[in-house]
Amino acid sequence: MTANNEPTIHVEHDEAGTNVDHGDHDNAYSGLLVNDANWAFGTDFEDPLAGVDTTVPDGVDAKDLGAYCLMLGDDALVFSQRISEWCSNAPDLEEDIALANIALDLLGQARLLLARAAAADPELVPELPAGSPVPDEDRLAYFRNDLGFRNVRLAEVPGGDFAEAVAKILIYSTWRLSIFERLTDSRDTVLAAIAAKGVKEMSYHRDFAGRWVVTLARGTEESKSRLLKALDGLWPLWSELFETHPVETAVAEAGIGVDPATVADEASVILDQVFAAAGIDRPERGGLAGVGVHGGKGRDGLHTEALSKLLAEMQVVAREHPEGQW
C-alpha cells in the first residue's frame, strides 16, 4: 500500500513504528517523560512549509495565487472529510484501510495547499483573538463559513454506498490528476512540488477506484445496478469540474496554474477507458445548475446544502476554542 500519510514535504508524522525504535517494550512508559530522539513526533505544530521558500514568483499576483491555492486546498480538504467518514464503515478491512489512506493523502495535500494560500496572501487568513496559537492552515480550515469555501460541489456530496464512494473517487482523481500533472510545471515552485507529490498519490487513488468500478460493473447484478445509479447521480457534477473561474484564467496566464477546461478532453478519454473496461456507458445528464443572480457554483462559494452541515461538524471543537492549543 502506498500509505504516505506525510502531509508535509518534510516528515513530522511517521507511519507508526516503521522507522522508530521504541527500545524496551517491557516498560510501557520508558522514555515517555524523556525528551529523547524517539519522542512522539511533532511535540509542537510545525508549519508544513517550514524551510520552504514561499516567495511569490515575479509577475504573479499574490492574491490570485492565494485564491487558487485555496480552491485546490478546499477541494482536497472537503473531499478528505467525506472519505474519512468511511472509517470503520467499509465493506471489509482492506477497503477500510485503503479509503483511510486516500483520505490521509488528500488531507496532506489540503494542509500544504492551505499553508501555501496563507503564505501567498495573508489577508485570506481569518483573524482570531490576539495571541491565539491557531496556525494559518487551521484558521483557514476551521474559521471560514461555507460562503468562504471554494471547493467544487462534487467534493461535498454526502453519504452514499460503496459504489458511490468509488465512483466519486474515480471522477475526482481522474480530473485532479490531469490538473496536477500539468501543475508540476508551475512557475510557483512550491505549487509544483505539492503537485508532484500529489501526482503519485492520485495515481494510486485513480487506480484503486478504477479497479473497483470495473469489479462492481462486472460483479453481480446488484453491484452493477448500484454502480450505474451512483454514476448517474454524480454525473451532473462532472461538467462543473472543467468550468474556468476568473482566478483560474489569471493563474493559467501567469504560468502558475492550470485552466481546468484544458484537461477536459484528456479526463474524458481516461474515464471512457475505464467505462469501456467495465462494459458500461457514460451517463447522459446535463450539469447541475448554479445558484444566485450569476448562477454561482462551488468556486464562487455557492454550494449545496450539504457543505454547511459538513463544516458545522468539522469545525465545532476548534471554534469552541479559538485560543486553544492542539
Partner: protein, 344 residues
C-alpha cells in the same frame, strides 16, 4: 492455513510430551505442530477476541475524526484508527493459522458469540478522550500485550511484537496531545481532567477480574499463553501511571491512591467489579451501539464482497486482477487490548 491433523498412528501421549517440553523450554508452538485441542480452542478465542477488540476499538476514537480540532490532529487520529484496522488484519491472520477464517470469526462477533475488550463499551464524550485513550487505554493494553510477545504460539507472538511497537508510538501521541492541551487554556485543562476521571477506572479494569476470580488464568499461564496475572499487571500499571499523571498535572479519581513504602507499590481502591461484570455481560453504555455499528458495516458491505467474489470467478481466464484482499497490505498501527475480562 493449517488444520490440525489427528493422526492416530502417533501416540498422543508422546505428542503431548513433546508439546509440554516445548512449552517448558519456552520455545514457540507453530501452526503445523501438534497441540492439545483445548490449547487450540483457548488460543482461537483469545486471538479472535483480540482481533475483534482492534476492530471494535476503531469506533470510539473514530467518533472524533470528523471533529478533530486541527488538521494535524485529524491526520494523526485517522492514521491511528487506520492502524487499528491493520492490527485486526494481522491478528485475524494469526487466528487463521489455527484453522478458522476471518469471515467465520466476524460472523461470530456480529452474532454476539465472541467478545471484545469491554473498554470500548465506554463512550468518547470529548475530543480529549482521544488523548486519554492513547495514554491510559493504550498504556494498559501495552502492559497486557508486551508479555504476549513471548507467548507460546508463534504467529500470535510475532504479531504482538509488531503491534506493541505501534501501540507504544500511539501511546506517546496520546500523552503528547494531553500535554499540549495542558499548556493551552484553562478550559482545555478542565477537559483533560474530566476525561482522565472518566477513563481511569475502566482502564484499571482492562487487566481483567482479580486473580481469585479469574478461573482461566492458571491454565493459560501453564500453557505459556499468559505470563503474568491480572493483579500483577494492574499494580504495575498503577505504579507507572502515577508519575505520569503528576508530570501532566492531573489527578486520578481515587482518594486511597498513595505510595506504600512497605510494599514498594502504590495502594489503590478496589475497582467496581459489579460495573465491570455488568459491562462484560452486555450492559455497558455502548455495548449495543458498538456491535450494531459493526454489524451494519458488515451487512451493508455484503453485496460488495459478493461482487468481488463473482468478479474474481468471472476473471479466472483473464489477466485482470480484482482489487479485493490482494490490494491492501496490513497497514501500520494502533490501539488494542486483550479482553482478559472475558476469561470468565
Amino acid at each position: 492455513m493449517t488444520t490440525q491433523v489427528n493422526d492416530n498412528r502417533f501416540d498422543e501421549a508422546a505428542l503431548q510430551e513433546q508439546f509440554d517440553a516445548t512449552i517448558e523450554a519456552k520455545d514457540r508452538i507453530e501452526p503445523r505442530d501438534w497441540m492439545p485441542e483445548a490449547y487450540r480452542k483457548t488460543l482461537i478465542r483469545q486471538v479472535a477476541q483480540h482481533a475483534h477488540s482492534e476492530i471494535i476499538g476503531m469506533q470510539p476514537e473514530g467518533n472524533w475524526i470528523s471533529r478533530a480540532p486541527s488538521l494535524r490532529r485529524k491526520a494523526i487520529l485517522l492514521a491511528k484508527v487506520q492502524d487499528e484496522a491493520g492490527h485486526g488484519l494481522y491478528l485475524y491472520s494469526a487466528a487463521e493459522t489455527l484453522g478458522v477464517t476471518r469471515n467465520e470469526l466476524t460472523e461470530k462477533l456480529v452474532a454476539g458469540k465472541q467478545k471484545y475488550s469491554s473498554i470500548f463499551n465506554y463512550p468518547t464524550l470529548s475530543y480529549t478522550d482521544v488523548g486519554t485513550i492513547g495514554w491510559l487505554v493504550d498504556g494498559a493494553a501495552i502492559c497486557n500485550q508486551v508479555p504476549l510477545c513471548r507467548t507460546s504460539f508463534g504467529p500470535y507472538g510475532r504479531a504482538m511484537i509488531r503491534i506493541c511497537k505501534e501501540e507504544s508510538f500511539h501511546q506517546r501521541q496520546g500523552y503528547e496531545l494531553l500535554m499540549t492541551m495542558m499548556r493551552g487554556t484553562e478550559a482545555q485543562r478542565e477537559m483533560v481532567q474530566e476525561s482522565v476521571n472518566r477513563f481511569w477506572w475502566p482502564a484499571l479494569m482492562m487487566f481483567g477480574p482479580p486473580d481469585d476470580n479469574s478461573p482461566n488464568t492458571e491454565q493459560s499461564m501453564a500453557w505459556g499463553i499468559k505470563t503474568h496475572t491480572n493483579d500483577e499487571l494492574r499494580q504495575k500499571f498503577v505504579d507507572m501511571s502515577v508519575p505520569q499523571a503528576e508530570a501532566l498535572g492531573v489527578t486520578f479519581p481515587d482518594e486511597n491512591l498513595k505510595w506504600n513504602e512497605e510494599r514498594g507499590h502504590y495502594d489503590f481502591s478496589t475497582p467496581n467489579w459489579d460495573e465491570f461484570w455488568a459491562v462484560v455481560k452486555g450492559d455497558g453504555p455502548c455495548n449495543e451501539q458498538r456491535l450494531n455499528h459493526r454489524k451494519r458495516a458488515w451487512d451493508e458491505g455484503a453485496w460488495v464482497r459478493e461482487a468481488a467474489l463473482a468478479f474474481a470467478e468471472n476473471q479466472t481466464a483473464e489477466a485482470a486482477a480484482t482489487p479485493t484482499a490482494a490490494d491492501a497490505t496490513p497497514a501500520a498501527g494502533v490501539d488494542t487490548t486483550t479482553p482478559e475480562e472475558t476469561a470468565k
